[in-house]
Amino acid sequence: MKINKSADLARRAFLKRGSMLGAAGFAAPWALNLAAIGEAAAQTATDYKALVCVFLYGGNDHGNTLVPYDATNYAAYRTIRANLATPQANLAATLLTPATALPSGMQLAMAPQLASLKSLFDQGKLAVQLNVGPLIVPTTVAQYRSGSVPLPPKLFSHNDQQSIWQSSRPEGSITGWGGRIGDLFLGGNSTSALTCMSVTGNAVYLAGQTAVQYQVSTSGAVAVRGVKSSLYGSAACAAELRTLITNSSSHSLENEYAVVTRRSLDTEALVTSAVAAAPVFTTVFNTSNSLAMQLQMVAKMIAARGTLGVTRQVFLVSMSGFDLHDNLLSQHPVLLTSVNEALASFYGATVELGIANNVTTFTASDFGRTLTSNGGGSDHGWGGHHVVIGGAVQGGQFYGSAPAIAVNGPDDVGQGRLLPTTSVDQYAATLAAWFGVADSSMATIVPNIGNFTTRNLGFV
């Protein structure tokens, strides 16, 4: 398979988007023209940028990730969370002191395990986005209850909300906003196959109209040993193996398996040699921390960007285990410790590589959770809090609205499930704008952005 066909891929992506918009019937001709302008601008980008999504699978408990600290709100939190509450004294060291204080004296502290992230916040390299989640239009609790506005489908369901976060649509969606961003930048990458990269398994986030996810393991690309020189001592068998696994087929499943295999074979040597030749960094990544190992590989890929001929890359890494209906008190701190360590190492590596201003990392998750306790943990929610990290980030600040700490309060749809006050589309659009997506193309990236007044939240 040829992998250096970026211009062709980008053109096809553009044509596909055009026909898709046309077929959907909601695109006026001018939208196509504006999309074309965005495309042209993107293709001229010469600097490097990487957007790194850290997906926390299972639904992170936002209530114990960012904890109210001032006396009034801590008391409310303590009452609602009951046995799940983090002791206030444990939060003093991670109390956040933003440039602009929150209204009404509200103070928020990070979980005690997030000390390195607190430090990045203090350095202005980490921003906190409050109460973000899927929305189709701005929505009030009254509108939610009466069903008077369109709501994201299949709320509170893991797989569907993961998919909506990643792609704006529930499970079954076949393009995600990371991939749709990738479509716009295939043309700028001489190795276009490496535009959308996962270190964590298949995810719709990275699939574009044309862009295809390329996966590496935490140790890099994996070579097929049997095709190298000989298979069980036979060069003929090695050659036959290569033929068999790469042949096209008229059967769609057989053919697709061969397509994946060809992509694996064709790109492995390039990736392996480029990573081996890339500048090394001394930042330590904990080898027993899966998220850290994934991010170390992202850092290695970024270090190899020159050899790989890429100027824009979208990465996905993840961590699972956040669905803590039970054992929240014992397990959530363990997970957050890993998150803290991995994100800090990764930011450190980008600084060491001199690329920190060109790499923006953000967290995402299925949903936030209930603020109330079920005895051992919390249940599925909706909005949650997330962090954005990087040299370009306007950090040290909160973005969005801090939710009221209350059951049956103005932001609660039940048991402290937050109705988001910022949409994933706004969050994604802000990141996409930093990456270089023209505002005129934004509706092709996040389809509901037109329903929101603020298209750029300003955190990066």
């Binding site: 009951a82 569907d160 097929v224 068999l244």
Partner: protein
């Protein structure tokens, strides 16, 4: 590569074969199977073909194909299938009792010793042992499919002696595989491993004073994943729509809040009471009445009155879920996907759902009727389906490995079967029994690989969710090693194949039949034969390498990997 060459070379065209007719006298389940046969429309002459066939008229390739869907290996089963026919084979399997207790095996291996209190590797050993050695192949195959539907993962349960919890879960699935879905659902619900995994164990009623609410985990997943799914379905599995053409969601958060009350009050019988106390992991969880919610629960058109005792409430809830019209198509479609094809036609789903709804004798949820309907359906049996450019399914990596082990008589010299978790994606299989990363299994029934002809055609291919650049390479590397060296002390016995090493054509054809039901095309087969023949067979080492190469080359090619 011409897809049309995939047909078994000597098989004559046969639009439909009707093995049932020649086996109609088989005692068990006759009424049910006839009802299914009649709605499946199977009639007409029997099949024919070369390669030997018994009284059933089933060819070697047809037998091997059936076994690839219904069993774990065709080895030593083709002749039997030809003798008794598809339904006769099913009936034999249905009446074969479970082949042993996984729990007892763990004890016999000494995993109740104190040193294994926090070690769960033996839960892998015991499940591999069952899957590779148990003679009740259909039961094991169905149990594996059920374990991907009623998912429990040892990685996700925190308890001491978790290997015993998993062994008990596996034994429970095996015991219920041929029973009734209603009993299976209850056994799953009250199984301690499931209780630990989805938090029914220890779940307590609401507490107004502290604001504590019941844990919602099981209430949500028992609906979304185990019974009815998120959207209302027609009997053929297609999505119902409302007047505006929109799908209709089956439940909302309020439904879950109510149903969650039903699953309060349950806990292990005695807590953790030592490794072999059956009270903790084998016996169903018990109700602690004082922890059960006394509130009324209204869901799916049913109201459980306030103050109903917990056992009665559970019965009402499970009956309500079981009787929901979604269950037949929702469960049936996923079982078809695990056994036969990723994209069954709506008519096929409807035939299976109809068998679920009524086995012909007025019984709903008869698993044997469902299994028969899936495996005897024309879409599973007709040779025509072999030529469809979208038919079949990608074989699950763990099934490929089990098939290899069984086909080549792999045995553990010490009887310890120390095969670990094989789910590492870069160096092993990206999949391992009872090791799913979440309750959503390794892949979703609706997964469509993006940017593919599969997606363009509106089709799904669940197993492609674990198919990517590292996993395709990892699988090949893993099998290359396993075929040569075995794994742990589990070693293959290639005696039969070595006897064919001097005749590469016979060798490759034999492997094609056993592993791929002759679905590796003549063209591909010729290439493999030529490559194998290029290895000198003048030494024992050369003969062994011929066998190894023949096996790996067959197991590497997409025509094998996609089970038609």
């Amino acid at each position: 590569m011409a897809i049309l060459e995939k047909e078994t070379p000597a098989t004559e065209a046969s639009d439909s074969d009707d093995p049932q007719s020649s086996q109609a006298a088989v005692a068990a389940g006759v009424a049910a199977s006839l009802a299914i046969a009649s709605c499946g429309g199977g009639s007409g002459g029997g099949s024919s073909g070369s390669g030997g066939s018994g009284s059933s008229g089933v060819t070697d390739a047809q037998a091997s194909r059936f076994l690839s869907q219904a069993a774990l290996s065709a080895r030593d089963n083709i002749w039997l299938l030809q003798l008794v026919g598809y339904e006769g084979w099913l009936n034999q399997q249905f009446t074969t009792p479970p082949s042993g207790s996984s729990w007892d095996w763990l004890v016999s291996q000494g995993y109740n010793a104190e040193t294994y209190r926090y070690s769960n590797s033996s839960s892998d050993y015991v499940i591999w042992y069952r899957l590779i050695t148990s003679p009740d192949q259909l039961r094991q195959r169905i149990a594996l499919a059920l374990s991907e539907y009623f998912v429990v993962s040892v990685s996700g349960i925190s308890t001491q002696w978790s290997q015993f919890a998993m062994a008990a879960y596996w034994d429970m699935l095996c015991e219920n595989a041929f029973g009734n879905f209603r009993q299976l659902l209850e056994a799953v619900t009250l199984n301690p491993a499931m209780g630990l995994y989805l938090n029914t164990k220890g779940n307590q009623k609401e507490d107004v004073a502290t604001g504590r609410a019941p844990d919602e985990n099981y209430a949500r997943e028992v609906m979304q994943l185990f019974t009815i799914g998120l959207l209302e379905l027609n009997n053929d599995g297609t999505v119902k729509t409302n007047g505006s053409g929109q799908p209709i969601e089956t439940y909302n958060q309020d439904t879950i809040t109510n149903l969650a009350r039903v699953f309060t009050g349950w806990d292990l019988n005695t807590g953790i009471a030592g490794p072999t106390a059956t009270t903790q992991f084998v016996m169903p969880m018990q109700l602690i009445a004082s922890r059960h919610s006394a509130l009324a629960a209204t869901f799916l058109g049913t109201t459980i009155p306030a103050g109903t005792d917990g056992v009665t409430a559970l019965k009402i809830a499970l009956d309500t879920l079981f009787n929901h019209p979604n269950v037949g198509p929702f469960f049936g479609r996923q079982m078809i996907q695990r056994l036969v094809t990723s994209n069954p036609s709506p008519a096929y789903v409807a035939r299976v759902a109809t068998a679920f709804n009524n086995n012909g004798l007025g019984v709903r949820g008869d698993m044997q009727a469902v299994i028969r309907a899936i495996l005897l359906d024309p879409e599973a049996r007709s040779d025509d389906a072999l030529a469809l450019p979208t038919g079949g399914k990608l074989r699950e990596p763990m099934l490929r490995f089990i098939q290899w082990a069984r086909t080549f008589n792999a045995t553990s010299a010490a009887g310890t079967w120390k095969i670990y978790d094989l789910s590492d994606p870069a160096s092993r299989l990206a999949q391992s029994p009872l090791r799913s990363p979440s309750v959503f299994n390794y892949f979703r029934p609706g997964y469509t690989p993006p940017n593919t002809a599969i997606a363009s055609a509106g089709l799904v291919a669940p197993e492609f969710q674990i198919t990517n650049e590292p996993t395709v390479a990892g699988y090949l590397n893993f099998m290359q090693s396993v075929i040569a060296n075995g794994i742990a002390d589990v070693k293959p016995d290639y005696t039969t194949e070595l006897s064919l090493a001097g005749d590469p054509t016979a060798l490759v054809k034999q492997i094609n039949l056993l592993l791929a039901a002759n679905q590796v095309s003549a063209t591909t087969e010729a290439g493999i034969i030529a490559a194998v023949a290029s290895i000198s067979a003048s030494t024992p080492a050369g003969q062994l390498n011929r066998v190894r190469a023949a096996i790996l080359l067959v197991m590497a090619c997409p025509e094998y990997l996609v089970q038609k």
